[in-house]
Each structure stands twice: as structure tokens, then as C-alpha cells.
Symmetry: C2
Subunit: 375 residues, 2 copies
């Protein structure tokens, strides 16, 4: 079979009729075997076959500017020091055009962009790898009367949720919100939320919990879908910001509490979000102060006033976990919120990390606050 | 907020510190607005900004050879006749290197390759668009003692499965298998299985059914995962072919029948698969002739002998739907199987379409046989 296919493929290529068969993933003989990226001896090598290119560079989110690559036998390569353990993204720049690494099938979608992943193993990234006991990830649709469309959300249920032994067990829920440019796949993809929760739960560090990751762009029904309606809401218009938050608290929360085995009580509800989602987190907690006992704005675009914080204090919030990178462009806003919380005597954690407005930080924050929830 | 971000972004760009913030999906002012692909007046235009490239071409699975593009003001473009309604894939070739269209976020992953989608609207593609009533897609893990690893599969449950009114309703199940090079996401992504079933069920053309899409590469735990074990099985070695089929029939089927509300009877079980998955379909039906009443090998790599067909006949198969493109490289094998079925007097359908070993055909076959199931 394998040989017959190779012979057939060769005749196809000669006949120029390859487009009639979709065989590209068969391993044709004679194709140059290139490995990229290759990690060895504290270094990483990137390679790209591009015999006719004039200038090829490496661009990565850990690099200051593009790194030149050199050509030998039609293959461009560069070897650089391995950065510290983390998930990085990169692409090549071929004569000024961004190109994904065709040898590296690990790709993250960030909104409308596709970027290759470089996973550097180590203590920092151990929780981002798959563990032995893995939860279920579900894409579900719910109706939003407030936004006038039905919409998709991602739900993580922990390992064991379906087991007979747990048939009567009810779970707490973390509502985990993405930033502008993201969608309902951002936290499960770039955020590695399922892997982080799997690891924390398996190690007994976090309570088994359901994680709900909705789409925070109220004009989108879902990411990457075709032919769907879009609502007329402009999600950047502050006048509409509350429409999504109202939908979250009045539609998504009841939907989840109907569809899943959930403790429908404030002490079993947490809300966290990054950037725009941090703003949604703050808005939800101020508009519905009695709904969530655990509130975690991350690198948040948003603020709260004294009256709003007093309402939260009165409602008896169990955890207010504020996090921001010290070089984040929203750091000043987080410091202001921290000061408002302090001034109003609301116990809270202001977790400050190095770096800026990055998924490296948001993954770190999730690992940091998830063990504090529902305890 | 929007203005502040734009100002901040400008200062970031000047400081060369963009890598510390992940803001790429914000709509920076000044970025050239390019639309690609653009469909108008029976033509489609593709565009790519590539001021420093020497040769830029368009490659598409409906095109015979690469199409040259022309540069004007740093933007390469080409306008060609719109092909007939279908989902096509394409990419650009920039100085010999394949490049995805950065303006088109619709991307399909075919094994390890990423290809942009061109969706041409029309009667043929109407069932590939999202409809009003959409089912749920779930990624679940199950244990395989036969393969020695736990593994991921994709499950589609139809719209209404979770509704209270259907709480006691049991559903039939279609096991839908991918080809070599594919994985548990192939049918839901390239095959648009969820959209096809949503459309057929909404229009009353197909019975509401569960669709199970496992990973047919027995050495893979799952597609696109990190740090997972791989088994030592070589899935191209025919000696191991039955290990996966045994796992399918002895592990996956019981798992699904335990986890979902399913009619655990042959008349409520269908099996279909393309290429290698067609071979798995044939093997499953011959090794377990009493298990599936509906058998659909598509562009199948596999065959069956008289004795095996007689066993199926005796078991009382309700539908044997064989499909192949007349220019498929496996067409002769399908004709042989058709002849064997005829010779043995097993009622069957040999559905022959134009074209070859393509997703266009596999999507068509799913639409054709799904309405014949469970009736």
C-alpha cells in the first residue's frame, strides 16, 4: 500500500494532476527532511527551505527585532540560545512576508493571526503539558435574548465529571474571560486552561471545577464560523459594554447552572478575565455584587469606585485577586484599583509579575489564583 | 480607551518593545487595509502585501499549477474566475515558500499543514454553513487497554440532545472515520460534519444522531498535543490495522454507549470512513459483522472476500453504501468491492462521483448517505 501510493504519487506529480487528490500528508519519498525547531544543548535551531528567497529572518515574541537567517543548500537556518522555559510564538519573515514554519504543526491562533509555538520545557511550562487525567472540552451554543443572537462558548469539565461515582456531585464554576481580539477559544488554546486545571486538580492543588470560557465580543456568534449573523453592537463602544456583561450574568450563568451539575451559589462562582475581560470582570462584580465570591481581574482594562467596592465588601467577597505585569501598559490602572480597594478596606491580593500584557503572564495568573478558589 | 491604545501602540512601536505586549489584534491606525479573498461579479481577487518579494504566486487545490500574481504599490494581486460553489484551499507562494493569506483567518488544518479556505457560496455549499439549530461538539478522552494509551475523540450531539423534553430520548450513533494523515478533528474541520448534520437534521432530512469521530492513528493519543505518550504501533504496518479496529469496536463503542443516551443495538449503529478510514470501516464490518447495520466505505483503501460478505448478508445489514470518485486512485478497488457485493447478492449502493480523493467528495458522500441512516 505504502509503495503503491508512492509510485502513484510520482505519476501524479508528473501528470500535474495533484489537485485531484488530497494526499499531501502521505510521506512522499525524496522530500527533504528538515527539523524545525530543534532544541539541543541549550540552543534552538530554526530551519526553512527557501531556495529562491533573498532575505529570511526569524521573528519571535521573545526576540528584540528580527534575527537574520543564513542559507546553505537551499535551507535557511539560525541557531540561538534557548530562552527560559515558557511557551513562545514565532514565525519566519521571507522577503518581508510572515510565514509559518511548515515543519512545526504546533500553531496558535491569536484572533485572526496564526503563530507557531516554541515550547521550552522546564518547571515553568510543566503545567502546560498534558497530564494523565484530562478533563473534557465542549463547544456549546446558548441563546442570548439580550444580544439577539445565539452564541458559542467553551466549557471545561474536570476529569471524573462523567464518572458514576460523581453522578450526584455538584461542582463550582470559574467564568474565565478573554481580552479584545480573543474569542471563546483563546483561554483553551493560548491560555492552556484545560492543561493548567488538569495539572492543578491532579496534584490536589485546586478543587475540581468547571471552567466556562464565553466569547466576549457581543457582535460575534462564535470564532471562525461561516455565514453567521452578527449583531449591530460595536463592542468597543462603551455604551454597549454592559450588554455583554448582562448577558454573561443573566443568561450564561443560568444556562450553565441548568446544563451542568453546578452549585448555584455565590461561594461556588468565580469570575476572572484578562484585559478587556478584566474590565468585564470588574463590571460584572460591580453590577452584580452578590453573584461571585471570587473576583480576579488580570491586566484589567477597567476601574471601580468607592461605592462599588463598598457594595462588594458588604456582599462578602471571599477573594479579590488583582494581577498585573509591572511593564504592562495597564499597570497604572491596576495600581489605582489596588489603592481603591485598600482605601475601602477590602481584603485583596495585588499580584505583580514581571513583564507586560502577555499570555505568559495570564497563564501564570491562572495557575496562581485557581488554587485559591472555592476553599 | 481606543485612542489611548493607539497612542500607546505608536510609542511602543517607536520604542521597539512590542514583544512585551500582545496587542496585535487591536486595529492600529495606519495599517494598510487589504481584503483577500474578495468575491465579486463571478470573480475572486487574492491580495498579499509583499513589497520585497521577487515572485508571488497563488496555489489552490482547484488550480492546475501556480498562478502568477502582479505587484502594484507593494501589493501583489490576481483576479481569476470564481470556481463553482465548493470549499477550496489555497495559499500563496512567495519566492518559493508557501505562505498563508494573512487577511483570511479561515484556515483548515490538514494533518500538519495549514491551508486557507475559499468558500464559494451556492447550493452545493449551503449545507456547510452554520444553520440556526446547532449541535454540541465535545472533545473527550477514553482509555484504550488494547492500544495501551488513553486517547481523544470528537463527539457531535445533535441540537436538542440536552433539552429537558428529550431527557429520556435515546439516539443512534454514526462512527465517522478519517483517512491517513487525518485525526479526530478532520471530519469536524475539513469535513464540516457538524454543519452538514445540523442542516440535514434541521430540514428533517436526517434522523437526529450522535456522530463519533475518533483518532484512527493508533500511535497517537490526540492531534496537536504536547508531551503525550505515543504507542509503539506503526499504523502503516498492516499487521497492526486490527488493533485500532478492535479498539473501536470493543472500547470506543461501549464507551460511547455508556457516556451518552444511545440505542445500543445494531440498527442504531452506523460506520463510515474515508480512505484509510474506509479500510477501517470494511475491517470493522467483517470482524464484527453483527455490530453495525449501516456500513459506508468512502474512497476506501480495503477489500472484502466472499465469506466476509456472506457473513454480513447473514447478519442482515440494512445499508451498504460504497462511494468513490471516478478519478480516485482507489477507484479500481471500489469497483472490485462493488463486484464482490453484487456477486454475493448483498443489496448495496455504489455511489460514483466525479473527481478524486478529495474532501469535496467526502463532504458530498456524508450528505448523501446520512439521510439513509436509521430509517
Amino acid at each position: 500500500m505504502k509503495k503503491a501510493l508512492a509510485v502513484f504519487a510520482a505519476s501524479l506529480l508528473m501528470a500535474g494532476a495533484l489537485s485531484a487528490q488530497e494526499l499531501s500528508n502521505f510521506n512522499f519519498g525524496g522530500r527533504q527532511q528538515i527539523v524545525s525547531p530543534e532544541i539541543a544543548d541549550g540552543q534552538v535551531t530554526f530551519r526553512l527551505a527557501a531556495d529562491y528567497a533573498t532575505v529570511v529572518q526569524l521573528a519571535g515574541n521573545w526576540l528584540e527585532g528580527a534575527v537574520p537567517m543564513k542559507k546553505e543548500n537551499g535551507v535557511w537556518s539560525v541557531t540561538i540560545d534557548l530562552p527560559s522555559p515558557e511557551i513562545y510564538t514565532y514565525n519566519f519573515v521571507v522577503d518581508g512576508v510572515s510565514v509559518n514554519d511548515p515543519q512545526n504543526y504546533m500553531v496558535q491562533r491569536d484572533g485572526t493571526r496564526y503563530l507557531n509555538m516554541l515550547m521550552v520545557p522546564g518547571e515553568r511550562t510543566a503545567p502546560y503539558f498534558e497530564t494523565d487525567h484530562r478533563g473534557t472540552v465542549t463547544y456549546k451554543w446558548y441563546d442570548s435574548a439580550i444580544l439577539g443572537i445565539n452564541r458559542r462558548l467553551t466549557v471545561y469539565t474536570p476529569y471524573g465529571y462523567e464518572a458514576k461515582a460523581n453522578a450526584k456531585k455538584k461542582y463550582p464554576v470559574l467564568y474565565l474571560l478573554h481580552g479584545a481580539g480573543g474569542d471563546e477559544e483563546a483561554w483553551s488554546s493560548m491560555g492552556r486552561a484545560a492543561q493548567i486545571l488538569d495539572n492543578l486538580i491532579e496534584q490536589g492543588k485546586a478543587q475540581p471545577m468547571i471552567v466556562v470560557m464565553p466569547n466576549g465580543n457581543p457582535n460575534q456568534q462564535a470564532a471562525q464560523t461561516l455565514g453567521l449573523k452578527t449583531s449591530d453592537v460595536n463592542f468597543r463602544d462603551p455604551a454597549y459594554a454592559n450588554a455583554y456583561v448582562r448577558s454573561l450574568c443573566e443568561e450564561i450563568v443560568p444556562f450553565i447552572e441548568k446544563e451542568f451539575r453546578v452549585n448555584a451559589k455565590p461561594e461556588s462562582r468565580a469570575i476572572a478575565g484578562l484585559s478587556m475581560g478584566g474590565g468585564h470582570t470588574i463590571s460584572a462584580s460591580t453590577l452584580y455584587p452578590a453573584m461571585f465570591d471570587y473576583i480576579c481581574p488580570l491586566s484589567a482594562a477597567g476601574s471601580a469606585n468607592d461605592e462599588q467596592i463598598q457594595a462588594l465588601k458588604k456582599a462578602g467577597v471571599k477573594l479579590y485577586f488583582l494581577a498585573c505585569g509591572t511593564s504592562d501598559f495597564l499597570y497604572e490602572g491596576s495600581k489605582t484599583l489596588d489603592a481603591t480597594l485598600t482605601k475601602n478596606g477590602l481584603d485583596h491580593i495585588f499580584y505583580q509579575s514581571e513583564g507586560g500584557h502577555t499570555w505568559a503572564n495570564w497563564r501564570l495568573y491562572l495557575q496562581t489564583f485557581a488554587p485559591m478558589l472555592f476553599k
